[in-house]
């Protein structure tokens, strides 16, 4: 395999993602785990860029790092008194977890092996057109219009529900 700078950057991102993901599941301090998750999500965004999914990469950062992770940190800081997690793990749980992990790994490997061509990469080295326009067409003018609208209604309901629950008059 040719060692090019792009390859190095790709493997750098891959290493970053995997290493920080390992830290997320092994570290005891829950805030450290959350910040490590930030690095993981960032690394995944970098990998999306390599798959020519530029819009998805930016969305990944804006939604997960800028939104969901902030919520996770809010939750952690507001609720937990002590940050060191001492979770007792039974042997049965370990076995079950291992089985599920193996099954997931096999599933992912099958998908990787059975994907005939990585369609977003062309062999002659030319770039595909930007994805933003195609995503917009598919969501608002194509087969994904209905799921998109259903999801937006679902989110609206969740929003109204959250506002209702947090209101003082209802709570008291």
């Amino acid at each position: 395999m040719e060692i090019t700078l792009t390859n190095l950057i790709f493997y750098g991102f891959a290493l970053l993602t995997v290493a920080s993901a390992l830290v997320v599941v092994t570290v005891r301090n829950i805030v450290h785990a959350a910040f490590s998750l930030m690095v993981t999500l960032f690394g995944v965004a970098g990998l999306y860029v390599f798959l020519q999914a530029d819009f998805l990469a930016a969305t990944q950062v804006i939604v997960y790092v800028g939104g969901i992770l902030v919520l996770i940190l809010f939750g952690v800081m507001m609720t937990s008194g002590r940050l060191e997690m001492r979770i007792h793990i039974e042997r049965g749980q370990l076995l079950l977890g291992g089985v599920i992990t193996l099954a997931l790994l096999m599933l992912l490997l099958t998908v990787i092996a059975n994907t005939p061509i990585w369609k977003n990469l062309t062999d002659d080295g030319t770039a595909l057109p930007p994805t933003t326009e195609r995503i917009g067409e598919l969501i608002l003018n194509g087969p994904f219009l209905l799921p998109f609208e259903v999801v937006s209604v679902l989110l609206l309901v969740a929003l109204i529900g959250a506002a209702l629950i947090s209101r003082k008059e209802v709570r008291d």
């Binding site: 395999m1 792009t6 450290h32 910040f35 530029d54 819009f55 800028g66 939104g67 062999d123 770039a127």
Partner: protein
């Protein structure tokens, strides 16, 4: 599996084709590569030139440019800090710094030297690793935003096709740095400040993004250069005058941007009278200076984005008059907005938390949604930017401004005058 390997070995993954071809980094790369091919290699002895690693050279040239960028941009906050102090002094009928250098112009330089030599204190009870990391995250993200801002016709790092979306994504990471700084300091003031900051930034990102959407709807592109290109016919083709809705969107964008960069009247995260200095209470010396530089760089960045989106970017007031690729015009417009921010800071008192949240959720977000609806309808009626649509839009803006002035004037007149206490 073999396809996976083929993908990695394919000529596509080659630096000369661009790292991320889809994000249009090629232009910058080609420039660096041409510099190597045309300028460096002919000057080398032939034996060296034959084996000169072009790829490595390209990367080194890019790193060099990045170094210049990182070296020059901290000078901008140096100037802005002095400007802020002078502006504040004028507003309060003082003279500001006068001792160091002519008219005090070297004051910030002296302060910078002082900050470098100050003790670098790290709270022993805090989380040392995150405490050291936080300023770098904020600093790096503040400066990464500049990569997508076009300063002139050809003065830009890269013309991403997701330009404005990239800017929003990168600037949303800043909040992580703020939380990190606040939490790792292990101080009540810091934590309170960072949680306030996070709540504020996450809230105000919504009206900010929605008002950017109105522009994206009209331009039909996320690329910063294309947004500028649609505003090339003089002042009346600027997107702020394109429709009455973009006119409203500009103000929502600008006010939300002030909230995003935590400046008065939205400076609750660092409210001195309540929580000392907010999330950077425990920082000292150069680490504090990094926060300071990042804050002023942010201020400049959001003003530059506002100029690019609404005020014509580097295009001039008259069509076709772009002096030096439009750079001076762009900087003047941006500094005017920065001055406006300073003006607001030294004029308005700080908001309360409930006022801050009310303003965002009960006023800005509904108005921003209304704007999107209105912009859609406007785009259906006037698909092209013609003389008629601009005239109608300017007329509506004019009438709206006069009506707003009358209404505001009447409600202010009816309010009883404040009694001297």
């Amino acid at each position: 599996m073999s396809d996976f390997r083929a993908m990695l070995a394919s000529p596509y993954f080659n630096v000369s084709e661009g790292f991320f071809p889809n994000i249009n980094l090629q232009d910058g790369l080609n420039w660096a590569e041409e510099f190597i091919q045309n300028v460096v290699i002919p000057r080398l002895p032939e034996a060296v030139a034959a084996h000169f690693p072009v790829e490595l050279g390209t990367v080194l040239v890019m790193f060099g440019c990045a170094g210049i960028f990182v070296g020059v941009f901290p000078l901008l906050p140096l100037f802005l800090v002095l400007a802020e102090r002078k502006v504040a002094a004028r507003f309060q009928n003082r003279t500001g710094p006068m001792r160091v250098g002519p008219w005090g112009t070297l004051q910030t330089l002296a302060d910078g030297v002082k900050l470098i030599f100050k003790e670098d204190f790290i709270p022993p009870q805090g989380d040392k690793f995150l405490f050291l990391l936080a300023p770098y995250i904020i600093f790096a993200c503040s400066f990464a935003v500049f990569a997508a801002i076009p300063f002139g016709q050809n003065i830009l790092v890269s013309d991403f096709n997701i330009g404005i979306f990239y800017i929003m994504a990168i600037s949303s990471v800043i909040v992580m740095g703020v939380i990190m700084a606040g939490w790792s300091s292990n101080s009540k003031w810091s934590l309170l400040g960072s949680l306030r900051s996070a709540a504020q930034i996450v809230s105000y990102e919504i009206p900010l993004g929605l008002s950017i959407l109105t522009i994206v709807m009209l331009v039909e592109s996320l690329s910063m250069q294309e947004i500028v290109a649609t505003q090339s016919n003089g002042i009346f083709s600027w997107l702020i005058f394109r429709s009455p809705f973009t006119f409203i969107a500009f103000f929502i964008f600008f006010i939300s941007a002030i909230a995003e960069v935590n400046r008065t009247p939205f400076d609750l995260p660092e409210a001195e009278s309540e929580i000392v200095a907010g999330f950077h209470t425990e920082y000292s010396g150069m680490r504090f200076a990094l926060f300071f530089i990042a804050e002023y760089a942010n201020m400049f960045a959001v003003s530059a984005i506002a100029v690019t989106l609404f005020l014509g970017g580097w295009e001039g007031v008259l069509p076709g008059y772009d002096i030096l690729g439009g750079l001076p015009g762009f900087v003047i417009k941006t500094l005017a907005l920065v001055f406006l921010m300073m003006w607001l800071r030294w004029t308005l008192p700080r908001l309360r938390v409930d006022q801050l949240m009310n303003l965002c959720w009960k006023y800005f977000i509904p108005i921003a949604f209304f704007n999107i609806l209105g912009t859609g309808i406007w785009g259906l009626i006037f698909p092209e930017d013609t003389l008629i649509s601009t005239s109608i839009s300017c007329a509506i803006i004019y009438i709206g401004l006069i009506a707003a002035y009358k209404v505001a004037g009447r409600s202010l007149a009816q309010r009883p005058a404040p009694q001297p206490s």
